[in-house]
């Protein structure tokens, strides 16, 4: 898709996997039936595919430019990736930030190993599904699937280690080696996604703004991902890395975030009412993803108020490129409200002056 100046509408990641009507409960019913031995894993895959297709279709219908697969197959943002690695065990439930949702905690039982693609298969499915959705007028060739990875630092922050063998006792007890181990694996995954056709990959690192004392660990863990992106570009392909942070006030780290060697920085505006003002004053050397629409509350924002914020911020963004989206993935909202929030994005863009 084009990467020129302008406002692009972008999904921030997840999408509700259930709705109130029976036809929107296919995944829930299939999982329940699978648990009772009345369905197979093939049935589960079918249900996931169906719900993923609908999530993509709704994003396209709402007018988005950058679309995700809705992370419909993800159990949670942590264990979905970590659980696919050898030597990682998935243990008990822990609250995910302040969301009143839970993730299962990964525990290192040895050096983690990538056994195969983590998301490349899902990405291929989503691209194919997007190809089957009727393209809205004027959007031909302008829509893209954006894969989303939870970043190595956040994965490491929410993991533990019980590894104590082979003379490397406690090798992953510290945060840094856990983050580096994840980073090396995710760098390989980025390359696989780029080979599959991804030109923009979102890496979520929400934990870093909640735990700013870990900045050095975070920054070091980003390096292999940057190298992976640079390698793809050196090979003549296109790839941008979008770093997203949310679930906390990002203002204290704003200057450091936009100084990172990434291509786009995604920000959650819901924790600081003065963030837009701050950015309008400080400017940004990078394109920004503006999470101005609350992905955690059902109330619909005033279109004009959000549009005015964008008008203040956009001229201060180098290159004049920004991505309008929700503050976080939408799985925290009921489905009808999630769709309404996506539709709101298009209305806000239409209300922009100039």
């Amino acid at each position: 898709m084009s990467a020129g100046a302008g406002i692009y509408l972008s999904s921030t990641g997840s999408y509700p996997r259930i709705g109130d009507s029976p036809d929107l409960q296919i995944l829930r019913r299939t999982i329940a039936a699978l648990d009772h031995g009345d369905r197979t894993t093939a049935d589960l895959l079918d249900a996931e595919n169906e719900v993923t297709r609908r999530a993509i279709e709704e994003q396209v219908r709402a007018g988005l430019d950058l679309i995700t697969d809705g992370q419909i197959r993800w159990y949670d943002p942590i264990s979905h990736l970590a659980g696919k690695l050898e030597n990682i065990q998935i243990k008990g439930l822990i609250r995910f930030f302040d969301t009143n949702t839970y993730f299962r905690q990964p525990v290192f039982a040895g050096p983690p190993l990538r056994k195969g693609p983590l998301l490349a298969g899902d990405y291929n499915f989503a691209r194919n599904a997007l190809g089957h959705v009727p393209t809205p007028a004027g959007k031909a060739g302008k829509l893209a699937i954006k894969p989303v990875l939870t970043g190595p630092y956040t994965l490491a922050k929410f993991s533990l280690s019980e590894y104590s063998g082979n003379g490397a006792a406690g090798a992953f007890a510290a945060l840094e080696p856990r983050a580096q181990a994840y980073a090396e694996i995710l760098a390989i995954e980025m390359d696989a996604l780029a080979k599959a056709g991804a030109e923009l990959i979102q890496v979520d690192e929400p934990a870093v703004i909640k735990y700013p004392g870990d900045w050095a660990v975070f920054e070091n863990s980003l390096a292999p991902l940057i190298q992976a992106r640079n390698k793809v570009i050196a090979e003549g392909r296109r790839l941008e890395l979008a770093l997203y942070v949310y679930f906390h006030d990002c203002a204290p780290l704003y200057e450091k975030l936009v100084a990172l060697p990434v291509d786009i920085v995604g920000l959650d505006f819901t924790y600081n009412a003065k963030l837009a003002e701050m950015i309008a004053s400080a400017g940004s050397p990078l394109p920004l993803a503006l999470g101005l629409v609350d992905g955690r509350n059902t109330r619909l924002e005033e279109i004009a108020a959000v549009a005015r914020q964008i008008e203040r911020v956009l001229p201060k963004i180098k290159g004049g490129r920004a991505y309008l989206g929700t503050s976080c993935g939408l799985e925290y909202l009921p489905r009808d409200r999630a769709l309404a929030k996506l539709e709101l994005l298009a209305k806000i863009r239409a209300a922009l002056k100039g």
Partner: protein
């Protein structure tokens, strides 16, 4: 000293009072009846009768086990926030959202001014208290947690919503006190999720309990207490009911660094484990508590509500709490 407050309220409790956090497992007949009721297959009256029967079972069970401060077991509740939201004007039922795995719930929406239109829990408290001479706790969910676990479409911000809810919960507290309730637990499991909002949670609790004549307990669990301790000690309650065992008593380390200045309901059994801890293991946990907290301030109970356990598991976990507490009284 809160023990003096208890005595002023006419409550003579032994050292190491035993209690539980609130919920108990619903017997099979009640779980089935709730499912039937939700499908419209049985009448509300029939369901209520079964809820009363189950409540009576748990009151009798707690008495037989020898617990000192009883709960009604919440046989009539599903979710601790939705129960109140469904009964307070100003809320509407939201669509389904995911909690984790394949579990979904209808997250409430604050869509208008929240109001108290009459007692929500008082009849259940009266019923349960009428079955026993031992004190039964009033069981409420705190304003901050109700706010945090709801969508807010009406109030300007989270503080405004929390304070409006605090006014509502205060009226319920007043109604419980008027009915004769002397120990009231106001659960705030969301207390630590946004450390920067602790002042809002504290303001709301102050508004809820200030000047009211009861012994107040709050329950919080599975949170990042290291981020809000010791500031949380200023919450306007007498007793913190805390999950201690699931986290291997690691909160004690915080208490070593800064004294725990209130009464504590010390969770001595993990409610997420099927197996009941041995009496010896529980005794050691109480012993460790006593290295930090004076015995006059220690209550003994499970980590959290027992509703996810089987009836048999819940009874055994309560039994071991009582056994351990009694051993320390001698």
């Amino acid at each position: 000293m809160s023990r003096e407050k208890l005595e002023r309220l006419g409550l003579k409790l032994p050292l190491f009072p035993t209690t539980s956090v609130g919920s108990f497992p619903k017997p099979d007949y009640l779980a089935k009846a709730r499912a039937e009721f939700s499908k419209g297959h049985i009448a509300e009256q029939e369901l209520r009768e079964l809820e009363r029967r189950a409540t009576a079972f748990w009151i009798e069970t707690q008495e037989k086990l020898g617990l000192d401060v009883l709960v009604d077991g919440e046989m009539y509740r599903g979710d601790m926030v939705a129960y109140f939201a469904e009964r307070l004007p100003g809320f509407t039922q939201g669509g389904l959202v995911r909690s984790y795995g394949n579990r979904y719930y209808h997250k409430p929406v604050i869509s208008g001014e929240v109001k108290w239109s009459g007692p929500v829990t008082v009849d259940w408290w009266k019923y349960a208290q009428g079955l026993t001479k031992k004190p039964v706790k009033g069981m409420l969910t705190g304003a901050y947690t109700i706010m945090d676990w709801s969508f807010n479409e009406f109030y300007a911000d989270r503080r405004a919503a929390a304070l409006a809810l605090a006014g509502v919960i205060r009226q319920e507290v007043e109604a419980l006190i008027a009915a004769g309730c002397k120990i009231i637990q106001i659960d705030e499991p969301a207390l630590s999720v946004r450390p920067e909002e602790l002042p809002i949670a504290m303001e709301a609790m102050e508004f809820t309990t200030k000047g009211l004549g009861a012994y107040f307990v709050t329950h919080a669990c599975y949170g990042a207490f290291e981020d809000i301790y010791p500031a949380m000690l200023d919450l306007a309650v007498d007793n913190f009911d805390l999950e201690m065992s699931n986290s291997d008593l690691d909160l004690l380390e915080l208490f070593r660094r800064h004294p725990f200045t209130k009464d504590i309901s010390f969770g001595v059994v993990d409610v997420h484990a099927h197996a009941t801890e041995s009496a010896e293991a529980v005794r050691k946990r109480v012993e460790q508590a006593l290295t930090i907290i004076p015995k006059e301030r220690v209550w003994v109970d499970p980590d959290c509500g027992l509703k996810t356990r089987t009836v048999e598991e819940a009874i055994e976990k309560l039994r071991v709490c009582v056994t351990a507490a009694r051993a320390f009284r001698h």
